[in-house]
Amino acid sequence: MTFELPLLIFLVMTAAGAILVKDLISSVFILGTYSFTLALVWALLGAVDVAFVEAVVGAGLATVFFLLTLFSTLEKDTRLRRSPMPWTAMVGLSIVAILLLYGAADLPAFGDPGSPASTHISPFYLENSVGQTRTPNVVTAILMDYRSLDTLVETIVIFTAGIACALILRKGDS
């Protein structure tokens, strides 16, 4: 539990740094650091599969795609000066932040067995997935068996992204 607060502070620092840094390549690498920190947070919370995906996709593949995009475009943020934030945005964002914190106070505690997420259908998966599918990893059993139609549509989304990139970016490429 002692690691959570430093990780959270580091997460906010890297997020702010990725936005504020002028050099876009530095920004991409700081964004990779942000993803890796987020993966550590997921791992601390016990969501190992999510942490794995976040580390591999966020810190690995997305960084490569951003870098490849930057090699084809400009590497610097060419705006000389950012316009200062208007006072309406300052006040409005503060109010939204206070509302979100107020709403977060009513969320169930971490790992609460009486919370809606733990009482609805999760116990069925935890009790029956090994017997029904012989798959010890419950996350894989849910993703690929109980919710396989959702996974199929997600796969179609990824396929469509590849097709769209090829259609837009490749010009006369064999």
Binding site: G60, V64, F65, T140, M144, T155
Partner: protein, 150 residues
Amino acid sequence: MIQAHDSVIVRTLGRIVIPVAQLFGIYVLVFGQHGPGGGFVGGVILAASMILAILIFGRDAPDSWLVPKVLHGDGLGLLIFVGVGGLCLIGGGQFLNYSHLEIPGLDDASRHYVGILMTQFGVAADVAVTGVSIAVSLSADDEDEEATHG
């Protein structure tokens, strides 16, 4: 961006790192039912290793013989995934209900196990091919410009 890298250190290191990364990707893919990981993560690791091969050796190098062939496999993973669902339909059940995979000698749970494994291979193939395809698309611009200017 797609030309071969000329540094000896990078090429030698690539020869060592790329097979290890691909082996790890296959391990994550196959072991996804018993530990963290699965088709998506394994596919992304495979895609990353193949993108590394493109960046180091170039797209047309004989060292990366797998990469040009991989690009012809658009939709193969999706075909595997939907094909498993279609096999369930042929077996007389609902779409993607692995209980109706007609494999003789397997009980219900084992059929689900086989179905999960096959769909994971489908997802991995789809994600890996799409990752390499997007990387090639993103770096194809330079090559075309050089071709037109040169």
